[in-house]
Symmetry: C2
């Protein structure tokens, strides 16, 4: 992509309305644009990042055997009355009347609708477990939307649901998601810790939040630092291996403030391992048994009688993760962002010196651009007439992790190549390609 | 995927509420499930088809240089008041009040919002043309939703918008989409004809509908049969080539009933080439100049003065296409569906005889399944205990174009292989793989 043709409306300065760094950077680099309070459009740069996150989330769901579906955004109030949540949910639910005066709503979550789908489709325990997910827009009518897409009203979320015959089987499903979440955040280059959490309006008695550390986080967390060293890389999708993994995490005290108990924290965590900081919730999983299946009569035949299925639900905020990654990776003091290559809007940028009377750097840049494209790398080339130092400033904000700089002393065996936050190297194009490709597969 | 583990809730009989064959087949094969009037959930089988269509639509937009963004579903009423359409749009617009009593709406289309994004981001004609698209859910509160996802309320649509400095440049943009649409429908194995059309509530004076022939279509069409032979395969993305393509189509009389003129039809089309039939609209493109840019003041600097940009908009019904393909491809008399391989939910099915006391066919099937998976083919294997003839009936409805049948006389050099609507062959697995892969790339 040529910068001059792209739709990346960069702002010269930090927007004053933005209070946290992800909101600032996203507005400044034209990733998003507010359309009304708490509602945003995703422009090409932001869209590309979000789509890549979505795809990683999808692949990790598929890997543990969850099937993708897609439920609508607009739901009927009837199923919410069945579950008993229609009145409970309060003003955060966007309630709508259609032209026939039917009570509808914009789904804030989908426990009711998935239970309705399940109960009308599955009759026998032999079809269990069923693990289903969708990635769809949700709406929560926040009283005070803020922090850009971190606490907005219309947001993009992966929510999954599990249906099992017994508590034991349901925990197996729960643990599959536990692993899928760890793997997802790892691919996003985030250190996310699972923490025992309250279940809130979803209900149930087992729940984990996945939290990444960030000063701007809204959750206060208390954790044993050794939890960062728990290794999930050898866990396989069988009951023992997954239980073992859960146990390895749960050995370490790690909770959000809702569950915090000072005595327990100090008793269980040696002082040198204590960490009391803030974090951002990026995922939340729940086990709630028959909380929805019972009032909504979602049962299967099991040995001659009807059993209510045991359910869990599992959320990841896909749009929120874009902001969370910025909160974790953006050095706003030096105005340097670096996207993990797995979700970067482009793999590499090319920054040529451009002079009105001399096309030679731009032409060299174009040749390199073509070679990189042939190697299936996604490139943003800055063909504008800005001077090189302002290009470099701009691209430090854009956060594409690799930069090729083409100045007046270009030498094709020693191309100026920089990984953001690292020293400049002078290497051949083949070596550059090798470095980027190698990083992409890991 | 194993059929026994899949979430494909098949109905034994045609649902009586469905009046057209796409609606019947989609409910019967568990592709969709209605959640309320005109609102559907997409279950795994339907979801897979829709996603593949979406990806083809996306790739063809990208190929002609359109950039992808994503606008929200919920819009503010303010921009619709600016354009003057808020009152005009009538009851089909789903109007919403949020908790602060602000007037919002669920976007039925996005001319206003994209114009707002454009005017706040682009200042100079040098940044033109800008071609932007998104693929997002829309809502139109139909009085009588019917025909399943063909005329529903919440639907998935690709809508694109072009911004240019002059009529001439704008027509160039229009023609790029014209070509992209032809290529899109070709990849979906649909014969779609572009037809001069009325512009309706979108406005403007140039518009084409892309129509596929189908008895159940809601549009009556009058066309010269020779239009099916117009070749677009050598058209390139430059002004002359695209103009030439448009001219080649427009040589032939081809209109929907709104524009029909009997005298013209009979004068311009020799009797043997006349075709008067019904069709389904699958795409619609519009050029409307400054209809939105003027009231909404979307202008750019051009030679020292402000010029209102010239706009067009370009829609494809992504969810509707799922139904349209079924209308075109489903032989409901014999209950045989055949998906084009480009959008088929799976590439091939494997149907083993399964006996309670004899696993041997299933084991052979599993070996074949593994080999096909290794070759990156997507396979649905029927491991249920149904008898072979009911499996075959079921899979004729599912429409996966290739079937491998494993009966009692299995011979690995002469595997029973069937392409739906073709004769059975007895060939090796390698030959089977070659046939499917070869079809997938074309």
């Amino acid at each position: 992509m040529f910068f001059s043709k792209s739709f990346i409306p960069i702002l010269k300065n930090n927007p004053t309305e933005a209070k946290i760094k992800s909101h600032q950077l996203m507005l400044r680099t034209g990733m998003i644009k507010q359309s009304s309070a708490g509602i945003y459009s995703w422009l090409p740069l932001g869209f590309r990042v979000m789509k890549k996150i979505e795809q990683i989330v999808r692949e990790e769901q598929n890997k543990v055997g969850v099937q993708e579906i897609l439920m609508p955004t607009i739901q009927s109030s009837e199923i919410w009355k069945e579950s008993g949540r229609y009145d409970d949910y309060g003003e955060e639910m966007l309630r709508i009347k259609d032209r026939q005066n039917r009570e509808m709503l914009y789904g804030p979550t989908n426990e009711e609708l998935i239970t309705e789908i399940f109960r009308s489709s599955v009759k026998s325990y032999k079809s269990l477990p069923q693990l289903l997910y969708h990635i769809q827009w949700k709406f929560r009518d926040e009283l005070r939307p803020r922090f850009g897409i971190m606490r907005c009203r219309e947001f993009y979320m992966k929510d999954a649901y599990s249906f099992d015959i017994s508590d034991d089987e349901a925990l197996f499903s729960y643990n599959k998601f536990f692993l899928a979440y760890l793997n997802t955040f790892k691919r996003l280059d985030l250190s996310a810790i699972p923490m025992a959490a309250d279940t809130g309006p979803i209900g149930g008695n087992l729940s984990h939040e996945f939290i990444i550390l960030a000063d701007t986080g809204e959750s206060r967390i208390y954790t044993d630092k050794r939890i960062f060293d728990v290794d999930s890389s050898r866990t396989t999708i069988d009951k023992d291996s997954l239980t073992h993994l859960r146990n390895n995490f749960e050995k370490f005290y790690s909770v959000t403030d809702e569950k915090f108990n000072k005595d327990k924290f100090e008793k269980n965590v040696p002082e040198e391992h204590r960490l009391n900081t803030k974090g951002i919730e990026v995922g939340h999983i729940f086990y709630f048994g028959d909380k929805y299946s019972k009032p909504m009569k979602a049962s299967v035949d099991f040995n001659g009688k009807k059993e209510f299925v045991k359910m869990g639900s599992y959320g990841i905020g896909v749009s929120r993760l874009v902001g969370a990654i910025i909160e974790a990776k953006y050095d706003n003091k030096n105005e340097i962002m670096k996207w993990p290559i797995s979700v970067s809007p482009y793999d590499c940028s090319i920054l040529p010196i451009t002079n009105k009377n001399d096309n030679s750097s731009l032409e060299k840049a174009l040749n390199i651009y073509k070679t990189l494209k042939k190697n299936n790398l996604d490139i943003l080339i800055d063909d504008t007439e800005e001077n090189l130092s302002s290009k470099m400033k701009k691209f430090n904000l854009l956060g594409i992790p690799y930069q090729i700089i083409i100045g007046n002393n270009f030498n094709e065996n020693k191309i100026e190549f920089k990984e953001i936050n690292n020293d400049t190297k002078y290497i051949s194009l083949n070596e550059i390609i090798k470095i980027i490709k190698n990083k992409k597969v890991h």
